[in-house]
Symmetry: C2
Subunit: 490 residues, 2 copies
């Protein structure tokens, strides 16, 4: 693998000034979409210095002029819950019972992943994310700094990083779901230290901010979690945690905290529902619990495709925002949902909201766009920097080519049909240009400065080895997929 990572100083020096002219701009500024027809966007270095009508735009004063006719310009998409490092296992686990997914399907395959495989997988996942319009990734993983240094910083993507903190002693494979995990205090404290070291390591890096990453309430003691909340307050940082995922978590919480206890009730009783918490998934919550979370300004990260595919459930994002909660969308990991395409996630959120409520007006396209942009940024606490196109904000900008068979036609009167077409018809391949922090990463659908073909080849080669190595264990684990393979369905 190419260890030759970009020096971030060099990345910054590559930034220039750009003027995007004649595109339809969805600024996401204000309470609605802030649409400007045939407008201009300008940025110098990493900062937007013009958004408005083309008439008042001195675009000749910029180094590069990007023609935006028949294109949309908009803020880059925000992936609020992202595990890039398992992307080499894409296609490895789906169509199995929820109870089999972790232990019988993905588990045996994941055991063959090396550190380098996790980085290579991350590179593929980050690139596919950027290719389909994502500019900020909320990475939630172990050893997140190797992923940042060797994947994100190599490509120039914005990261909100949460290093996983998990207090469970290592051997837990043979535990019955009702057997309580044993906590290893020293391990938990060590992982907290690893997490905190990143706050220093990336201090001052324009592209990286850090969160605390306790894995889930059943995987850390209340003692450690209290410490984490305290530290987070001191650092003015957020806590990115999986919350109320059901299954084993529900059982563990009941066993540990008493019958009737739930993740949300335990968090609430310990004053842990507050503005610092970014809660991922929350599909195993009651309406009352979600109300409590919203009232306490807890943010939600919702992975619509992942929870539908792996659990057969709907992560209740529509409900959450209807109560006034702040939420964003995420892609979780590739195996299960299949990919890291945030345009697909916006559409999926709307589709699932409609059928869940039997109401075709539920989660309309403009709300889906807010989830994918400004509200996603707010969920990550970075909405003062990104998430909308406003003067003074960072230049995280994507352009969408509407001159495609599946996007044609689009009109502006009596209303802008390019808004629904973007959410309900685009497939992600229409993303033409991507700028992150003022630097152009994608140009006319092609990556600048990245040898994509080589990375894809490496990924293919490694995946063949990984899956081959895992074959026997995978077969012995005996998920539902094994018999389907024997019968020629896979």
């Amino acid at each position: 693998m190419n260890e030759n990572i970009f020096n971030s100083q060099i990345v910054y020096n590559l930034r220039m000034s750009y003027a995007i002219i004649n595109s339809h701009i969805i600024t996401m500024d204000g309470e609605n979409l802030g649409i400007i027809e045939n407008g201009g966007v300008g940025f110098r270095d990493n900062t937007i210095d013009y958004v408005g009508p083309i008439s008042g735009f001195d675009y000749q004063s910029y180094e590069f002029i990007v023609e935006g006719k028949n294109q949309i310009s908009m803020p880059g998409l925000i992936n609020t819950h992202f595990h890039s490092s398992s992307t080499l296992l894409r296609g490895g686990a789906q169509d199995v019972p929820e109870i089999e997914w972790m232990n019988k399907a993905i588990g045996p395959l994941a055991q063959s992943l090396t550190t380098e495989d996790r980085i290579l997988g991350s590179q593929i996942g980050v690139l596919e994310g950027i290719r389909s319009g994502t500019t900020t990734f909320a990475e939630n993983t172990r050893d997140v700094d190797s992923i940042i240094d060797k994947s994100h910083l190599k490509f120039g993507s914005r990261v909100v990083a949460a290093e996983t903190i998990n207090e469970i002693s290592s051997n837990r494979v043979n535990l019955h779901p009702r057997d309580l995990y044993e906590y290893d205090k020293e391990k938990g404290e060590g992982e907290l230290k690893t997490c905190e070291a990143l706050f220093n390591k990336y201090q001052g890096n324009e592209l990286i901010s850090c969160m605390y990453g306790p894995q889930a309430l059943d995987m850390v003691s209340l003692d450690l979690l209290s410490t984490i909340y305290e530290r987070a307050r001191e650092q003015e940082a957020m806590i990115h945690m999986h919350v109320a995922q059901g299954g084993r978590e529900r059982i563990q919480i009941e066993e540990r905290y008493g019958s009737g206890a739930s993740t949300v009730s335990v968090l609430n009783n310990n004053n842990m529902l507050n503005k610092r918490l970014l809660a991922a998934h929350i599909h195993d919550t009651t309406n009352e619990e979600r109300k409590l979370m919203v009232q306490n300004d807890v943010k939600m990260a919702s992975c619509q495709s992942s929870i539908a595919m792996i659990d057969g459930l709907v992560s209740p994002v529509s409900d959450y925002i209807n109560m006034g909660g702040i939420a964003g969308l995420g892609t979780d990991q590739a195996p299960g949902p299949g990919n890291h395409n945030m345009i697909r996630e916006m559409r999926t959120a709307s589709l699932l909201a409609k059928v869940t409520s039997k109401d075709p007006t539920a989660l309309p396209c403009w709300e889906a766009l807010r989830l994918g942009t400004i509200n996603g940024a707010a969920a990550l606490g970075i909405d003062k920097e990104v998430g909308s196109l406003q003067i003074g904000k960072k230049a995280d900008i994507i352009m969408i080519d509407m001159n495609r068979l599946n996007m044609i036609p689009f009109v502006t009167k009596p209303f802008r049909t390019f808004v629904p077409n973007l959410v309900y018809s685009a497939n992600g391949s229409e993303v033409s240009n991507v700028f992150i922090n003022g630097k152009q990463i994608l140009s006319d659908g092609q990556f600048l400065d990245v040898d994509v073909e080589k990375l894809k080849e490496e990924a293919l080669d490694r995946a063949n080895i990984i899956f081959q190595q895992a074959s026997e264990e995978w077969r012995i684990a005996g998920s539902k997929l094994v018999s389907m393979v024997e019968n020629g369905f896979l």
Copy 2:
């Protein structure tokens, strides 16, 4: 508009012999997927004459050799319910209550469509369908032959055409839902004649077959429908009808046939549930009614995205196939669902089946593939000709490029992850080559012999005029969208 349509004799003369080598083949032959790794597919003129391992393949004897490394070869997708002619209204109606969709949202816009606009829209819809892998389209529309002659035959797509037959006298705009439609016998008989004339017109055309197209049970009398069933039996043809769409249909059926009557019960009482019926949608049916339909070998055409977006409901395809019914998928019309991408429909069917049943094993990827290919062909009664790759079948073949960031990696051991990746991660843009009836239509993602840019320009120009013309009426109709526009959300 360019009226210069291909003479179909010329189209046929353009066919050659092709050998596709070294691709992974999903033949869909047999009870499972019939996968052949790194195999060969050969066809001469319009007929497949080799499908098998590369070792036994004399591919040098073909005129053109297509390298298929890192690609999937599979049967072209079958769109079993398709109204291409409203594609210029894409983005025109969604996120509105079901009751508003037809009359307040799409209706005022549709009034501005000319015959030429319907043809131009069809051209865009057919091309976007082919671009994302569809080779057969079950067109269901009025004046279907103008669509066939000036759109499908221009591009070389396979059509199963149903000319709309509707017996309702023309002025019905101000009817209350409980006011029974008045039938106009002469009109109905005239439309039946128009429909039947097509059987003669396209007799012997390799690409076109015909069905009868009664619009829905509330829109034709039982007398006329009986005649249609009789004629269909004589012609050995099928009947493509919207069945049990709820809303106004349910009310009309109750008013006409008595309280408690439903579309399915009336059809059953009149011996109209049989193998000749292709029933679209059926979301307003009970489980018992669906069982009855399956027992009587009624075929189902299910438009997952359309019914979810317009009605907020799930068209029960998973239930139907679980009972042993034959079903295919369709895209309906562009406004509402947004596009004509059958790869998206396969994924959507699986996703909605999983969340509806709260079971992640529901409608797995291999069943989604059957819906999109061989079972879709069976639903249209053309499975002896197309829907799988078998020697002697027509050469309707698509290739999918897996060497994409969102499809990488894929492996074959211990199982073929390219199967889930195709259904759950592809977005349609990966379709590289499309052959229909032995003729190459798409090559490396580019259309041969079609001036796509010109068509897109025309579509854009016309749409601007159509929407502009309709602006005032659209505003007066006062759908929910009107206020959203005023508030800057669209």
